[in-house]
Chain length 163, copies 2
DNA sequence: TCTAGAAATGTTACAGCATAACATATGGAG
DNA sequence: CTCCATATGTTATGCTGTAACATTTCTAGA
């Protein structure tokens, strides 16, 4: 049930709740959650994984919501700008934010095996990076942290291939 | 003179030293630093900034060292695999490593103003990310840290535009 | 020395990711 | 009602990256 991790959970419910929260947030902040934008967010939430812009576009096309790349990219841009989704640079892909509202620097744990992605918090500004930046006089405005590795499910599958 | 930072320094010397070190390292480890690979490393060192694969390729072409993308990508791949260069995902670009030999997780400070890039150390495995990964049972194999912001030079230029 | 294999390079062709530029529509403020 | 800002639609193109196969080069072993 933990949306941060690799466990199974009640997916319909988590999608619905996230969408409702996004709607409320847009209402409060006078943001225009148009049909395309809403649908793209829904697709990301349903997919519950990192999706390429062209994956998204395929769905939009099939639903008559837009046939050209810019349509998908603009919607994704809106979602990322307002914290409803993140871009994962390492994958050239996008994923719904698992804890919008809270201001955060996301850190992604990307499984090499099943390509699942978990979102954790990071505070790269503290610790070595912050100190290095301060020493150099560099002002960090935005940071991204992405880790590649093995999720517990894939590690288990590897350890016990005959189970 | 500090190769980690945004300061000016004796560039010819730093290029020559880095190249010599790379040659020695390849010698010791029976790695094949071919002319193309060596030249690509040299280009990265001379450029002293993040360079796209196609920037590199343009130089190689002009020098008759290879005309097609795979030539550049293969050389870059070799350099990255063996720690002589890093890929900066955020920029789809490559940069010479400023402290090869030492085993490290690089963290990049990318200036939005002048696009200079400094390389710092990071240990994302310690701290919040490591704890989150441990909690989830995720095994981190490789991590990437990239920060966007302002280097001291650009901050100064911004603060005193008439100076 | 000859030869088989590994490693590196060369080349074609294409796949995947992203945006510039311009046209059209839609919705609210004055 | 008109103007402006915002959003969408579309064309075209540019940048990033790789699969697949041919050729060359080097080296280890028969």
């Amino acid at each position: 049930m933990d949306p941060l991790g690799f466990e199974h959970h009640d997916h319909r419910r988590c999608v619905a709740a996230a969408l409702a929260a996004a709607e409320a947030h847009c209402e409060r902040h006078r943001l225009n959650l148009t049909p395309v934008r809403r649908r793209v967010l829904e697709l990301l939430l349903e997919g519950h994984r990192a999706m390429g812009a062209y994956d998204i576009l395929d769905h939009l096309r099939a639903e008559g919501l837009g046939a050209q790349p810019p349509v998908a990219y603009r919607a994704l841009d809106f979602l990322v700008r307002h914290g409803f989704a993140h871009k994962i640079e390492r994958l050239n892909a996008f994923i719904a934010c698992t804890h919008p509202e809270t201001d955060h620097t996301p850190a992604f744990l990307i499984c090499r095996g099943c390509h699942a992605v978990a979102e954790a918090h990071a505070e790269p500004t503290r610790g070595m990076l912050g100190r290095a930046a301060a020493d150099l006089g560099f002002e960090i405005e935005e940071a991204m942290v992405e880790a590649l590795g093995r999720c517990p499910n894939c590690r288990e599958a590897e350890a016990a291939p005959c189970a």
